[in-house]
């Protein structure tokens, strides 16, 4: 699909449409939608901003490419004065006191925020069912889950309620819902986009990224959000990715992980579609190499061990003292415990408890520290692989989206469904889901800081398979 951002920009500049009419149309769609993709609608703010864009155009002033473009925000990002609930009871009335850096950069570029989007509470989930706002329904088949945790964001983009949305990806939370809803979703190299103002889940893999319907829109939004930020000391400097740089592919060698496709867990259709895509790539003269990789259960267990440890630490601040839905107990300690027990979902509690388990004496050496060592080995494995290949291609998920209600019954099955996404999170690698190749898409991964190569290969694939 062509760039929606450029198309709308052209329509605004040539006065085919007004920004107010565009924003109003999207707000109406969001309000009427039955997919549970919305936590709160920012109609007053959006219409105010739209009127300013219209005034600029009427005055003959030039507008930037993102000026007047309506977008959505996963409900874990701070936007001053708006509710930021993380889809949780604990923060259902919490208002952002400040604005996240990535969102501020989009506002500075003139983009218009329409909606705070439904997601798994605190990012804890792979289906967007772990939320107080109702399970998000899949955009293609509403009986199925939207995927998660950025499920509302993926559905809003897929249904054209937003032109693009900003999701958060800790272990696959942008890439998997993008795959389930047939759109693009990008997890940049860790640190490329500042995490300041993103509610922390697992700080060492949390990434800010866009979901959109075209590679060009992903590129435009990524460029605006990227950059080193003094407010996030893990953020890194990066250079802008030009349209020309991603137009022609320089990729000569592609690899894929043999054990991903040989796994018993993979759906037979996804497997055969993936292998058919590999054949089409070979037919274009690209060398394809089979690569050895860690077993899926090791990847999933390493990821969840570290992510649970980090979330137990990050969420310990949520005790109802300064903000949140405090429930008074008999004393201070009791107040903390009652507040957290009553307000956290079962899945969030499961992860906090698991995290504290692995961080406690007697467990940390055999599990947490070993998990850290395994993560280093996984990263070393990636470094070695990217000496041999330019790109790694993989399926996004082993199976098709489950029916709503099924994932919640079996947490272990939900964790294992992240088998193909979590490894790249542990490696902090740039990875894009493209809505091609298998029914839940393909993942394109490059070495750290090679985000440009990912988009380049995506453009190549668009015309190849």
């Amino acid at each position: 699909m062509e760039s929606q951002i450029k198309k709308i920009h052209q329509q605004l500049v040539s006065k085919q449409i007004t920004c107010t009419a565009l924003v109003q149309e999207k707000l109406d769609l969001l309000k009427q939608n039955t997919y549970n993709s919305v936590n709160s609608i920012l109609d007053t703010l959006a219409l105010e901003l739209a009127a300013k864009v219209d005034a600029k155009i009427a005055n003959g002033e030039t507008i930037g490419l993102l000026e007047g473009i309506p977008f959505g925000i996963k409900d874990v990002y701070m936007l001053q004065g708006t509710y930021t609930t993380a889809s949780s009871d604990l923060l259902k009335n919490y208002k952002s006191a400040y604005t996240a850096t990535a969102i501020q950069k989009l506002l500075d570029a003139g983009a218009i925020p329409l909606v705070k989007e439904n997601c798994d509470s605190f990012g804890h989930g792979s289906s967007s069912e772990n939320t107080i706002f109702g399970a998000v329904k899949n955009a293609v088949n509403p009986e199925l889950v939207a995927g998660g945790s950025s499920g509302g964001s993926a559905v809003n983009v897929a249904k054209d309620y937003t032109v693009f949305s900003i999701g958060g990806d800790t272990g696959g939370s942008i890439r998997q819902p993008a795959g389930y809803n047939h759109i693009y979703g990008f997890k940049p190299t860790y640190g490329r986009v500042s995490r300041y103002g993103l509610m922390a889940y697992a700080s060492s893999t949390d990434c800010v990224g866009p979901l959109a319907k075209s590679i060009e829109d992903i590129r435009i939004v990524l460029n605006v959000m990227s950059g080193k930020d003094p407010k996030d000391q893990t953020s890194i400097a990066s250079t802008e990715i030009s349209e020309e740089a991603v137009a022609i592919s320089s990729i000569k060698t592609v690899g894929y992980f043999k054990n991903f496709v040989e796994s018993e867990a993979i759906d037979t259709q996804i497997k055969s579609d993936f292998l058919a895509s590999i054949e089409k790539i070979k037919a274009k003269g690209i060398e394809v190499k089979e690569l050895d990789f860690f077993k899926s259960d090791i990847l999933v267990s390493t990821y969840y061990t570290l992510a649970m440890a980090e979330t137990a630490s990050n969420l310990s601040r949520l005790d109802g003292t300064n903000y949140g839905n405090r429930i008074e107990g008999e004393n201070l300690i009791d107040t903390y415990a009652v507040t957290r027990s009553e307000n956290f979902s079962e899945e969030t509690k499961r992860r906090i408890v698991g995290g504290n388990q692995v961080l406690s004496q007697g467990f940390s050496e055999g599990i947490y520290l070993k998990g850290l060592a395994l993560r280093d080995q996984i990263s070393q494995n990636f470094s070695k692989d990217f000496e041999e290949v330019d790109i790694v291609l993989s399926p996004v998920t082993p199976s098709t989206p489950p029916k709503i209600g099924e994932s919640l019954k079996d947490p272990l099955a939900m964790y294992l469904s992240d088998a193909y996404t979590v490894g790249f999170s542990l490696g902090q690698l740039p990875t894009l889901t493209v809505p091609q190749g298998t029914s839940t898409g393909l993942q394109i991964t490059a070495a750290k800081n090679n985000d440009e190569l990912v988009l380049q290969f995506a453009n190549f694939l668009k015309d190849t398979i």
């Binding site: 001053q80 004065g81 919490y94 208002k95 006191a97 860790y190 060492s204 003094p230 000391q233 893990t234 090791i298 999933v300 267990s301 969840y304 061990t305 649970m308 137990a312 310990s316 109802g320 003292t321 300064n322 903000y323 949140g324 839905n325 405090r326 008074e328 107990g329 004393n331 201070l332 300690i333 903390y336 415990a337 957290r340 027990s341 956290f344 509690k349 499961r350 992860r351 906090i352 408890v353 698991g354 504290n356 388990q357 406690s360 055999g366 599990i367 070993k370 998990g371 850290l372 060592a373 395994l374 993560r375 280093d376 080995q377 070393q380 470094s383 947490p411 272990l412 964790y415 902090q428």
Partner: protein, 84 residues
């Protein structure tokens, strides 16, 4: 200390599903030579941001007060402290 106390969650118990994940790690073979060599995200002391106090804006202060869970007669009410 038990996990319910560590987590400040009443009646919290470890989950069977999560324990299965941990068992995989426990039984995995790991090469100790790799420990903490790749994924460090440390910040150079030459690259630290300025240690300056930034005054919050009026709107920020107002929202922080608005978010406070309990107020009485213009005071912010904290939870009861532990006695004894």
């Amino acid at each position: 200390m038990t996990v319910d106390i560590l987590s400040s969650i009443k009646g919290a118990q470890s989950s069977e599903s999560v324990n299965k994940l941990f068992d995989v790690i426990r039984n995995a073979s790991s090469n100790n030579n790799a420990a903490n060599t790749v994924n460090y995200n440390c910040v150079s002391v030459n690259d630290l941001r300025e240690d300056v106090v930034v005054e919050s804006s009026a709107i920020e202060k107002q929202i922080i007060l608005e978010n406070f869970p309990n107020k009485k007669n213009g005071f912010l009410v904290v939870a009861k402290v532990i006695e004894g």
